[in-house]
C-alpha cells in the first residue's frame, strides 16, 4: 500500500454554521482532523453511529461542499472543486437509488445520459455492457424498464451502473444496501467486491452494519462524534478492536453465535448516546460513555498509537508514555 492513494482526505475538518432549537447561531463540528486514503483495488469501510460524520466525510471526498480546513487529494494532487475531470473519477452511490436516477425515464435513458455527459460512446451496446456489469440480465429487457418497475436491489444496481458509466476510479457508497431487503443485500455487496477485483476500483463503503463491513472490506475505519478513532485491516479491527468505542460497536452488533452475557457492555444498560457536535466533550469524546475512562481521557485528545499489523487507534489505554517505560 505504498502507492499513492487515488483519493485522500488529509486532515480535513468540516464545520456547519447552523441554528439550534431556539434559533441561536451554532457551529456543528461535523468532521474534525480526519485523514482517510482510498487505494486502487481496495475497499475501505467507514463505520460509526448515525451522526458521527460519515456522510459529511463522503461528501467532502466527493466535493459536494468545500472543506473548512485540510485537503482533498486526487492522485496526490490537491483538488480545487468539482470539475468534470473530478466527477469522471469519483462517483457517489446513495442509500436511496432514486436519488441518482430520473424516475420518469427508462433505465437506458438514465445510463445513456451519464455516458454522454462524460463523452463516452453511448450506443445500445454500451448501455447493455453496463447492465451486464451489474448483472441485470437479460440486458435488453432491463434497459426498457422504468426505475419504479424494478425491485429495490435491481434499482440500486442501476444506480451503480449509472455511476460506472462515467468510468470512475473511485466509488463512494453511502449506506448503499441499508434500504434493501436482507435477501438481496449480499448481491449488491458481491457486485461491489467484483468491481474492486476486476476493475480495480477504489471503494469507500459506509455502513453501520459491522458484519457486512467485515464481509466486504479490506480496511475498516471507525468514526466517533466527528473524529476518526481507529483504523486498520478489517479482520484485526473487528476481531480485536483497540478502541473501546469500536468494541462497543462490535459488541452491540447482532451475532447469533454470541454466548449470552459475553460482552463487557451488555451488563450496562445505560450506554448513553453520542455527544452533541456543537459542544463536544473535551479530551476523548467517548470518555462520558467509556467504562475504562481515566483522568487524561477527560482533558486531552489521545495521540495515535500504531500497531505492527498496520492498525492504529487514538485511545489513552494504548499510549505508553516515555515515563512509563522503565529505563534499563
Amino acid at each position: 500500500m505504498s502507492d499513492i492513494p487515488i483519493l485522500a482526505a488529509e486532515d480535513v475538518t468540516k464545520h456547519f454554521e447552523s441554528r439550534d432549537g431556539v434559533g441561536r447561531h451554532v457551529t456543528v463540528r461535523a468532521v474534525e482532523n480526519v485523514t482517510l486514503r482510498l487505494h486502487r483495488g481496495r475497499i475501505a469501510a467507514l463505520v460509526g453511529e448515525s451522526g458521527s460524520g460519515k456522510t459529511t466525510l463522503a461528501r467532502l471526498l466527493a466535493q459536494f461542499y468545500p472543506v473548512t480546513s485540510g485537503r482533498i487529494l486526487l492522485r496526490g494532487e490537491p483538488v480545487t472543486g468539482p470539475d468534470r475531470r473530478f466527477a469522471g473519477e469519483v462517483q457517489l452511490v446513495f442509500q436511496d437509488p432514486f436519488a441518482s436516477l430520473n424516475s420518469l425515464r427508462r433505465v437506458e435513458h438514465n445510463l445513456r445520459r451519464a455516458l454522454k455527459l462524460h463523452a463516452h460512446p453511448a450506443g445500445d451496446e454500451h448501455v447493455r455492457e453496463l447492465l451486464g456489469k451489474v448483472n441485470l440480465t437479460p440486458e435488453a429487457e432491463f434497459a426498457r424498464k422504468l426505475p419504479h418497475e424494478l425491485s429495490g436491489g435491481q434499482r440500486q444496481r442501476v444506480a451503480i451502473a449509472r455511476a460506472l458509466a462515467v468510468r470512475p476510479s473511485v466509488l463512494l457508497g453511502d449506506e448503499p444496501i441499508s434500504m434493501l431487503d436482507v435477501s438481496i443485500r449480499l448481491d449488491v455487496l458481491n457486485l461491489l467486491a467484483r468491481l474492486r477485483d476486476e476493475e480495480g476500483l477504489a471503494l469507500l463503503y459506509i455502513t453501520h452494519d459491522i458484519a457486512s463491513a467485515r464481509y466486504l472490506s479490506d480496511d475498516v475505519f471507525v468514526m466517533y462524534a466527528g473524529q476518526m478513532v481507529e483504523g486498520g485491516p478489517a479482520e484485526s479491527v473487528i476481531q480485536e478492536p483497540k478502541h473501546p468505542y469500536t468494541r462497543l460497536l462490535v459488541d452491540s452488533s447482532p451475532d447469533p453465535e454470541r454466548a449470552a452475557g459475553s460482552s463487557a457492555f451488555t451488563a450496562a444498560e445505560k450506554l448513553g448516546e453520542p455527544p452533541s457536535l456543537v459542544d463536544p466533550p473535551p479530551g476523548c469524546r467517548f470518555h462520558p460513555r467509556c467504562p475504562f475512562a481515566r483522568d487524561e481521557c477527560r482533558t486531552e485528545f489521545p495521540p495515535r498509537t500504531e500497531f505492527p499489523d498496520g492498525g492504529w487507534t487514538n485511545c489513552w489505554l494504548h499510549v505508553t508514555r516515555p515515563e512509563d517505560t522503565p529505563t534499563p
Partner: protein, 323 residues
C-alpha cells in the same frame, strides 16, 4: 398460554379484487414468551400485527380466523370477534402495541409528561406523574426528561419512550413492529436488552416483528418465518438458526454475513418474492428455491411438524411418512 391465533386471513380489497396479505396464519404464544416474526418486506408482518391488535383500516379487512387472548384472570376473549368498544377495555391494560413509526407517533406539541398522563388517567391511574417517572426509568430515561418535547429527544430516546408508554398499564401482551429498525446498533442493543430485562421482571409476552433474523436469534424464544403471507416455519430460536427446516429460512439465515466465523462467499436468496395477486399454485417459494423437486410447483406444502417445530416444505414429506 396467552395468545392463540387460529387461521387468520387478512385481505387488501381494491377494484382489482382482493389480495390476501395474511394467509391462514396460526400460532400460539406462551405466557412470558418472546416470539420473533421474520421475513422479507411485503411478506405480511405489519399486517399480521395490525390484525392481532384489531387496528386494520380499509382497504385491509380481517376476513377469517380467531385471535384468542387468555388473560391472567378472566375468560378467554376472541379479539377478532369483539366490537371496537369492547376492545377499548382491553387495549393498554391487556394488550399494547409499539408501531414501526412509533418514534414519530408522539404528539410534537405536547410534553412527554402530558402524553403519558393522557393514557394513565384514562385508565384510572391517579398519580400519573409518579407512574411516568417510574416508566421512563424502566427504559433508562431520566425522569426529568418527562418535561421534554419529542423534538428535544434523540430518535433512540423517543423509541424507548414509546416502549415505556406501551407498558404504562402493565399489559400482558406487547406486540412490536420493527421497534429498532430506525435506530443504530448501539441503541438497538440497549433497547433489546431492556426488553429482555423488563420481560423477566414484569412477565409480559412479546410478539416482535423484524426483517432482521440475526437479531431474533439473540432475543426471541421462538421464531416464526413468514413468506408471501404465510408462516413457512416456526420453532425454537436456537433450532431455527442451527438447523432450519425450510429452504427459505436457510436462505434468510445465510443472508447475514457472520461477525466472528470465517468469512466465506455468501449469495443471499436469488429473485424476489412473488406478487400476492398471482401466487403460484404450489409452494410460493418454489421459483426461488434451490431444492425444489417433483411437484413443488403444483402442490402447496402444509405447515406440519418436523424436528421440534413446524415447516411447510415437501422436503420433509418422506420423513413424516415414516413417523
Amino acid at each position: 398460554m396467552i395468545l392463540d391465533v387460529k387461521g387468520l386471513d387478512v385481505d387488501y380489497v381494491s377494484a382489482k379484487g382482493a389480495v390476501r396479505a395474511v394467509n391462514d396464519v396460526s400460532f400460539q404464544l406462551r405466557r412470558g414468551e418472546i416470539l420473533g416474526v421474520a421475513g422479507e418486506s411485503g411478506c405480511g408482518k405489519s399486517t399480521l400485527i395490525m390484525a392481532i391488535m384489531r387496528l386494520l383500516r380499509p382497504p385491509a379487512a380481517l376476513t377469517g380466523g380467531e385471535v384468542w387472548l387468555h388473560p391472567r384472570d378472566g375468560e378467554p376473549v376472541d379479539l377478532a370477534a369483539r366490537t371496537d368498544r369492547e376492545l377499548r377495555t382491553l387495549r393498554w391494560r391487556r394488550i399494547a402495541v409499539v408501531l414501526q413509526s412509533a418514534m414519530d407517533a408522539l404528539n410534537p406539541v405536547a410534553r412527554l409528561s402530558a402524553q403519558f398522563a393522557d393514557v394513565l388517567k384514562a385508565h384510572g391511574y391517579r398519580d400519573a406523574g409518579k407512574r411516568t417517572a417510574e416508566l421512563l426509568e424502566m427504559v433508562g430515561i431520566s425522569p426529568d426528561r418527562a418535561r421534554s418535547y419529542p423534538h428535544e429527544m434523540s430518535g433512540g430516546m423517543r423509541q424507548r419512550a414509546m416502549i415505556a408508554l406501551a407498558l404504562a398499564c402493565d399489559p400482558e401482551l406487547v406486540v412490536m413492529d420493527e421497534p429498532t429498525t430506525a435506530v443504530d446498533v448501539v441503541m438497538q442493543r440497549q433497547i433489546l436488552s431492556q426488553i429482555l430485562q423488563l420481560r423477566d421482571r414484569l412477565g409480559f409476552s412479546v410478539v416482535f416483528v423484524t426483517h432482521d433474523l440475526s437479531l431474533l436469534v439473540e432475543l426471541a424464544d421462538r421464531i416464526a418465518v413468514m413468506y408471501a403471507g404465510r408462516i413457512v416455519e416456526i420453532g425454537e430460536a436456537a433450532g431455527i438458526y442451527a438447523d432450519p427446516k425450510h429452504p427459505y429460512t436457510k436462505g434468510l439465515r445465510d443472508s447475514f454475513p457472520p461477525l466472528r466465523a470465517p468469512v466465506t462467499k455468501l449469495s443471499g436468496i436469488p429473485g424476489t418474492p412473488p406478487a400476492l395477486r398471482d401466487l403460484p399454485p404450489g409452494c410460493a417459494f418454489e421459483p426461488r428455491c434451490a431444492r425444489r423437486f417433483g411437484d413443488c410447483a403444483e402442490r402447496r406444502p402444509e405447515l406440519l411438524p418436523v424436528g421440534g417445530g413446524l415447516a411447510a416444505c415437501h422436503l420433509h414429506d418422506r420423513e413424516r411418512a415414516h413417523v
